[in-house]
Symmetry: D2
Subunit: 374 residues, 4 copies
């Protein structure tokens, strides 16, 4: 319970440090019979791979995934799926200087306080490379969801003050722009903003958004395991995220009820909502509409300016951070948000299968008289 496990039925456990031998994940509870190979996973890992653009760290890693267990003759067997990525480009000497000092905005100080010491190489377990395991497992979750008709899509909503214009939304742009913005024009403006920040030896923040389409109504639980509560945890657990929103998010605090309520209507014989301020969740349970999530990300704490701080020996010092760092985290974190969302939604769907006596009886071949309400 040191917190490297996520999920109840589709349960993942990640491991590995930035500059250790390898990183990986074990997926326990993956249903049997899913066609799966390394390429399914690699395409997701490639989206968070470093060294691919001028706004990403220049550390070069192949990040090639190996399936070590749980797949036989091209299909998942129901046994744990162990996925591993070897580190190949560690340059730990970059970090020897900062081994004993506490970088502002990083977890150096808090790790030392919790554990008594820390693996200081590249942030160790608190590095962004920790998300490799999340993405590898999320790729499997996304594949299952796709078979169930559910798609998950995350993108950069804004970088600093530059926001995507959603009327220009093009899904292909997310994968093809360096910023992962769905609006190519905003992408260009954002790149200019980033370039300026790099010249100033500074870093920037931003906002990422994720939408889930095709999710049936009725998924999620009331009270503590609300679908939005679990999504909030999943997204807030991504390093550097400082705020999470569902639907209209913080803007609802300025609304009147008459503005914010989403009325129900009949459309083609089905119940729909006129608007979607709620972001697809009511009372913790999906309402059949598109899920909408937003995460606000702080600027990369590693900046190439002299910073004043403190070291383990309790002296104040000036430090200059070396190493290879992204001037902005958002574009590479988008796929992490997509994967954490997929893991959360899939787990809720699996848990949901036993919510009704009818479903259980049907599964076990014992037809059951459904509930009649007066």
């Amino acid at each position: 319970m040191a917190g490297s496990t996520f999920g109840t039925i589709f349960q993942i456990t990640t491991w590995g440090e930035s500059h250790g031998k390898a990183l990986g994940v074990v997926i326990d509870g993956c249903p049997a019979g899913l066609p799966l190979n390394e390429a399914d996973i690699q395409q997701y890992l490639d989206r968070r791979k470093p060294g691919t653009s001028s706004i990403a760290t220049q550390r070069k890693e192949a990040d090639s995934v190996e399936i070590l267990s749980g797949v036989f003759e091209g299909r998942t067997t129901g046994s744990p799926i162990s996925l591993m990525v070897r580190n190949t480009s560690q340059i730990s000497s970059d970090y020897s200087e900062i081994a004993s000092c506490y970088r502002p905005g990083h977890a150096d100080y808090t790790f030392d306080q919790k554990y008594g010491f820390r693996d200081y190489r590249g942030g160790g377990r608190s590095s962004g490379r920790e998300t490799l395991g999340r993405v590898a497992a999320g790729a499997v979750a996304c594949k299952i969801l796709a078979q169930l008709g559910v798609t998950v899509c995350a993108y950069t909503r804004s970088l600093g003050p530059v926001e995507a214009d959603m009327t220009r939304f093009r899904r292909q742009a997310i994968l093809n722009t360096p910023t992962a913005m769905p609006d190519p024009e905003a992408d260009k403006a954002a790149l200019r903003y980033l370039e300026q920040a790099k010249q100033d030896c500074d870093s920037v923040g931003g906002c990422m958004e994720c939408i889930v389409e095709g999710l049936p109504a009725g998924v999620g639980d009331p009270v503590f395991e609300k679908l939005d509560a679990n999504l909030a945890k999943a997204i807030m657990s991504i390093g550097a995220v400082k705020a999470v929103e569902i639907g209209d998010g913080h803007q609802v605090s300025l609304r009147y009820g008459s503005e914010n309520n989403d009325g129900f209507r009949m459309t083609d014989g089905k119940i729909t909502k006129v608007t979607n301020h709620a972001g697809g969740i009511l009372g913790g349970i999906s309402d059949g509409d598109t899920l909408i999530l937003r995460a606000y990300v702080k600027p990369t704490p590693s900046i190439f300016r002299t910073q004043h701080t403190v070291n383990r020996e309790l002296s104040e010092i000036d430090i200059n951070i070396k190493g290879r760092h992204d001037p902005v985290i958002v574009p590479r974190a988008v796929v992490v948000m997509e994967c954490m969302t997929a893991l959360t939604v899939l787990d809720a769907m699996l848990l949901n299968m036993s919510a009704k006596m009818d479903s259980i009886a049907a599964h076990y071949g014992r037809p059951h008289t459904p509930v009649q309400t007066s």
Copy 2:
């Protein structure tokens, strides 16, 4: 696992519906030896009690708590503490009209989709009364935290556009103003705003904030069980919350790294931060500074205007909601936020006790040589 349990070591399970016989909570894992009586809990329940001001529902409930187990001779025994509050003022007839229709902004439709039918009286399990169990358990958590030198304090930060001026912060005002604002002047302005909304048969939203003081550095876990991730889940699981923030929250997306990093300094021989944009958490672990959380709450969905919606028989209809409803949820939800925060922080502190070999060896009377880093 239908989601009514929260916490790992200090674990609570809530039960009960708005118009059922009773509501309650079982606390399992409360340490032995804590002095505890009903009054300790009642003072927290009274803060969320309905019928106490013109801006709260007029339903009158004593909400008197009974301790059924787990306390012997005035102290907790380590056995489960069962707490119960009887419902006394249910008027279910108010709800007969809406039994078959889906109120906008409520969980009626999603409960029917998930479970096949629902207890429609007063929202059943999705009612705000569900939080009684959270508050009763949270009162116990707060008492333990107080003994450990940790205090938790939540208040209304804003109602609609009316925001508290934090330079006028007075802790006593939180308990004494109808709005639970710490700024008496903002309280008055907010009441005028609320009065207007009531006259318009409308409801309003707002923002609540919670601060935790005295929490030592080193509490919380990296990766999925980050302290901020668990707080995000805890707070987002409160009905009507649509956004959760830590520290500067969504504003970090507009910052440069050079602005947002909190430098470390030595103060009176101790490590401190110059600023607290991070809200007291770095890498998922507390940094010894004040925890700062914010939750944005939607306007009460029950409004006294005609609304167009759909019923179980898939017909569009107009409805007029009766019953007794708060025009704003925030003032009564503040104590719920305080309690959910306390439950989360306490659980993290208990889990944290076994993070280091030194601590374990000390607990079991086996002194251990602490780790020396080079």
Copy 3:
């Protein structure tokens, strides 16, 4: 996590002490749509009720159960079901003498060591009355299992040296004999044995057995969550049980593989086993055959003889236990074994629903091509 919660999907949390105000259980994760009323539960509680025969404690308790939540218009809603039984016949004065001494065979000493003090009245939380919550919840599990075609039946296999002759097995006898033996002749012999023990101011042990019929093949998980592993935990968690067996149990250690293997055969077009040494489980997963479990129970530790022991002040003393005690635990524990087995089997069946992509796709209306093996 003080250990009063059991199960993953169908999850129960029990609370209450022998001489407190009440005892109870919260069931979270009960599927919606099950017809349920107090009588369904009361009939199970009546089987463990004290005061009904000469071989049970003379404490008189109605043990009337009250459903406090989770049932609406006669059916479960999917929300937590809170069940409570008030204590009415506590005579705590019986225990004042032993408040400070450690009774042999009881948990007095270990509770003091763990918690620093204890609720000494009637054993507090370690009393046999703690099983009230297990039985109330187990009654609900049994009702669901019955709807799925699965029956669970426990009985007394032996008391001291007197063993039931299984060729005389009559299911009705279990409910109608004071010993809960399925063999009326063995019942009579056992009563004579018990009468002698009572005259000698002594107590006796015994063995209980439980069979599960109608369980489909394929339920349970490999590795740590094996169905037999979870059953072993469930049964060993019943106070006074010192050994648990599956199928032929400890006798397999004397067998040759050629004797112990159960060959498969075709019977009426279905796969069956020629023998059932395995007790219905292979590799942790049900094989479609009858589950067979056995639990060995120690003699009641409360005996009416002078015993030499130690008190809290670390002095050796002689004690004479008063109070009202069963000379044998087994007959009243049989229904507890039945209920713990039902809870375990039901939970495994619910978890099992998401084991295959086919089942998931079918549940969500997305037909999936089943796996073809070469």
Copy 4:
């Protein structure tokens, strides 16, 4: 939740199949600051390594463990420890014949029923090689326990009818006899018994025992998480175990209370028990005495005789099992029992740290007035 995770604070997740690329385990929640290297783990793996004696399978595997994460500069960091063993001697062709048939006593049929198909090579996930991860993780648990003064020791108690004479108990013999018996004379007799069984193309069962010394009183929880309940689950989860006992086990059913109660006495100023029929646990909590556990193991189901069974196509057939199989499982399973016991006991010790307000207050530097009982 497919059941490959064990433990609450010290939590392990195993993965891998008999004939896959590798097997391993991730330990999450290992305290920081423990000196650890591969040799610490390898010595435990070597005890279960195949090919080392005439009574073990002739499959040759180095079973060399690699530490992939969680250790830095020779000490655990508190981050997940990933351990991996590559398979090197898979001969899958041995299994092609049995790919479509159901071997008696194996999990072939139940895996097919649960998952729709299976990795048939060497039993896949249900192979005894699955225990590699358990033993690797258990080695770490044993090292921590040793630092806390707790030792765990398992051995072969009997093979078929040949039982170790405990008056001849020599701890060194356990590691040095092929049977892992602590009695060299019984070892010789057992080898003769095994030799005969091999000549008869048969296999045999046996009993293993485990003792835990140095465990303080007060560890474990009442009700469902009793220490004995968790041990029963841990031990029953080892393949081929059909019965688990604590203390005197099944023999208590024949006892009188006056024989079975262990009286307390003062010895050198400390509370002790005169006898230890209870096996060191009262009411689910350790009593400071030696823990005693026993597990009864069925004969290896793979025997070199023609067996009649059924195949996937529902035809009855005769099969002859090839491959490399142990004629008895017990000697190599002893270290697995030792490791599962260590994992269970350590986890209970870590959970126990927060049982009392005093301990929590002491840990956080807030001295607390201990409970005074009248």
